[in-house]
């Protein structure tokens, strides 16, 4: 149905021409779902943009052909492409909110597409639009027709984008990271819907994602991309069981999966034994009946509704939940950036909740409680070099100056695996993983006892996530730190944490030892979360390791 041959795309930039896609060949059969998997910069998105001929300025198809039902998309005139886009090939994008016009009702946006492609008339547009909303299983479609995008959740917006994409009955759907940024249960709902509807209509689809586990679950066949080339294609189960290319092996290894330990995520040659990790008995942080209430327009909003838990010295506690469950509010209160409404936070037995966030800045315990932020890019000052960023807490809270300061910064960089020459770079000159390392180096600059990790790997590629998680485990052992790991990804929490706290709607619904919560969840919400996580097929190495491990235990 779609035959891509020697397809190459290049971009003109300040530093000359950059080859984004270097001659790839792919075939897609009628009714097939193909997954294109790769890390950022692999050229997977550029490929899809080039197929739709919506490349940014400066980008052009350099060579090759992409024959879709007898027409070469690489050569087609813009006029022909307008007919093909939407009617024959549709695309859904990463951020559904950005894909919808924020000031128009979603029903009207759907009508526009239907009428533009002659699928509806003025008279029956509304009925057809509601029909299309019902097709993507939106409950109460009649009422949703009049909603604006901001009134809807991210998952709901993505369904509407999907409805628009399906409106004209395309033959091929290209989904570019359709669930990035969505909660794990929403991700499952959206992906199930995409799979069911494309199957029902006999459509072909291409799923572009960085998540090998997700692709494996929903695609018939996977193509692994790296540096603009396809390194391997094959059925998902086969790729996992017997990866041929070293890069595929690396990706498969790095994907967190049940049965794999932290070190199993790394390439074989980097698998040094994991340092011993035994939490102490003394409580470091005790949270008692913590409440946070925000004043809202329609009455107070209860973000956190009286939660209690204890973190022992040296322990790693996972705080798990979906967006809006109050986990970020909780971590902001613990790190003393936000004042609580009521309740106690005991740090080494002393209540620190009474000290306001403004006064805590000058408290001597400020350096003891630190945080690694979710978005490494956002958490680094664009005007400060890596060196200045790491130096900031040392300058503010210790007397280290001059050569001793430089030595300390270099020691921290080495500890976090940041090459020393990169210290003088600005954030925009660093890669995602390097920025994450700078953020970690800053947080541990003053040897904190308690480190809060707010989804530190959410924005990273899986192979970098694997390295950063292992770095965190090593640092924990070396510096004797206690972690609170905030995350929505249970597979990742399982790897790093001893104890798990599951939150829903501002309350703790379940807590206990990690293995117990993961393997025998008692609360239905925990079971839903676990069920929604993509389950990659078992791997050769992973299963062998697990068998060996359980035998040893």
């Amino acid at each position: 149905m779609l035959a891509i041959k020697d397809f190459a795309v290049s971009f003109r930039t300040r530093r000359g021409e950059v080859q984004a896609v270097r001659g790839i060949s792919l075939d897609l059969a009628e009714g097939e779902t193909l997954g294109i998997v790769g890390e950022s910069g692999s050229g997977k998105s550029v490929t899809s943009y080039a197929l739709m001929r919506i490349l940014d300025a400066g980008g052009r198809i350099k060579a090759g052909s992409a024959v879709f039902e007898g027409r070469d998309l690489a050569q087609a005139a813009e006029r022909d492409m307008q007919g093909i886009r939407g009617r024959e090939i549709s695309m859904i994008f990463q951020n559904p909110r950005a894909a919808l016009n924020p000031i128009r009702k979603v029903g009207h946006q759907l009508e526009d597409v239907l009428r533009r492609h002659g699928r509806a008339t003025r008279a029956n547009a509304r009925a057809k639009a509601i029909e299309a909303l019902e097709a993507v299983r939106i409950r109460d479609a009649e009422a949703r027709y009049d909603a604006y995008p901001f009134e809807l959740s991210g998952g709901m917006c993505q369904r509407i984008v999907f409805a628009i994409a399906l409106a004209c009955g395309p033959r091929l759907l290209i989904a570019d990271e359709p669930t990035t940024g969505l909660d794990i249960t929403t991700q499952k709902a959206v992906m199930d819907l995409v799979r069911d509807l494309t199957r029902e209509r006999g459509m072909s689809s291409i799923l572009i994602t960085h998540d090998l586990g997700l692709a494996a679950e929903y695609c018939d066949r996977l193509a692994v991309m790296k540096d603009g080339q396809i390194v391997e294609t094959g059925p998902a189960a086969q790729l996992f069981a017997d990866p041929q290319h070293p890069y595929t092996q690396k990706l498969v290894d790095a994907t967190p999966r049940p049965g794999a330990g932290l070190r199993d995520l790394l390439p074989i040659e980097a698998r040094t034994p994991l340092p011993d990790h035994a939490p102490g008995d003394r409580a470091l942080v005790q949270v008692r009946d913590l409440v946070k209430t925000y004043p809202g327009k329609s009455g107070p909003v209860h973000a956190v509704k009286g939660i209690s838990f204890t973190i022992r010295e040296g322990q790693s506690v996972g705080l798990v939940g979906e967006s809006g469950c109050g986990k970020s509010t909780t971590s902001s209160m613990l790190v003393r950036l936000l004042d609580r409404t009521s309740g106690d936070i005991l740090f080494e037995g002393h209540d620190i909740a009474d000290i306001t966030a403004d006064r805590f800045v000058r408290d001597k315990r400020r350096s003891q409680i630190q945080m690694v932020f979710q978005d490494a890019t956002d958490s680094l000052n664009p005007r400060h070099s890596a060196r200045q960023t790491i130096a900031d807490p040392i300058l503010r809270m210790s007397d280290l100056r001059g050569p001793a300061l430089s030595a300390r910064i270099e020691e921290l960089a080495t500890l976090c695996g940041l090459p020393l020459p990169l210290l003088d770079r600005f954030p925009h000159q660093l890669s995602g993983g390097q920025k994450a390392r700078v953020g970690i180096a800053r947080a541990i600059a003053l040897d904190p006892k308690f480190l809060i990790l707010d989804e530190p790997t959410a924005a990273l590629d899986v192979s970098i996530q694997a390295v950063v998680l292992n770095l965190l485990a090593d640092l924990r052992a070396r510096l004797g730190m206690t972690y609170l790991f905030v995350s929505h990804d249970l597979n990742v929490v399982r790897l790093l944490c001893d104890h798990v706290v599951v939150m829903q709607g501002g309350e703790i619904v379940e807590q206990g030892p990690a293995a117990q919560v993961m393997d025998t969840p008692s609360h239905p919400y925990t079971r839903t979360l676990l069920a929604a996580a993509p389950k990659p097929p078992t791997t050769r190495t992973g299963t062998a390791k697990t068998a060996a491990k359980s035998a040893a235990e």
Binding site: R14, V18, A20, S40, G41, G43, V335, L337, A357, D358, V361, R362, R366, S367, Q370, M371, F373, Q374, D375, D378, S379, L380, N381, P382, R383, H384, S385, D392, P393, R396, M397, P419, P421, L422, D424, R425, F426, H428, Q429, S431, G432, G433, Q434, G439, R442, A443
Partner: protein, 292 residues
Amino acid sequence: MTEATEIPGRKPDGALAHLLHVLRENPVTMLSFGMFAFFLLQALFGALLVPHDPLATNAAMALQPPNWSHWFGTDSLGRDVFSRVVVATRLDLTISVLAVAISFVIGSVLGAVAGYWGGWIDAGLNRVLDTIMAFPLFVLAMGIVAALGNTIENIIYATALINIPFYARLVRAEVNIRREAGFALAARLSGNSHFRTLAFHIFPNALPPMMVQVSLNMGWAILNAAGLSFIGLGVRPPTPEWGIMVAEGANYIISGHWWVALFPGLWLMLAVFTFNLMGDGLRDIVDPRRRT
């Protein structure tokens, strides 16, 4: 795509190399910086280099058209227009630079405080700024100079005051969107007080758009100062100043003595033009993201 592929160890460009890069990249920026240097030289050394005393009158030589000894001709009192135009540069630039500097500093402080703390400070400040902007700004400046007295300092204060709202609003918006940014929170965790977080972490990030505003504003401030002098407020004759010279020359245009008004007007136009063109270049220079 560009991530991690660069040669490790390559240091970022120094300030001078970066400046040269920005100039090379954009010919318009190059032109504007060249013209700025031209005006700067006139302001610094113009008084030493001009061929005639800008204040010396000579009734015998009144209203001569441009010739080899008087390049821009002479005015009704026989003074050399070229010398007067060049010498006036210092005064006009001083007024506009000082006025812009004052409004930059005051506007930045007010805007940053309002944007960071919000609440009633923000609401109060915004209403005051609205009040200033509700007046026709030139008329407000006229009123201030007329009330405070006809001196150069008062022109500077008046020009500064009417420009404060533009800076305050810009800084307020830029600070406000970064107040909850990760790096601002991280700065708090690093032990920075609110003041330090605002002054050393958030505010510098507002500089690139501020530079565009400064440059546009400089041109506007020159026009404003010249405009006040044109209508007889501020600088007094016989001090050479572009606005007064245009005003004096305007009477002679009808009688065919076009050079008396044209040349100071041309310099005024070129100066405004220069500052307007410089905006993008200044922004690129202060933006570290351009240093790739």
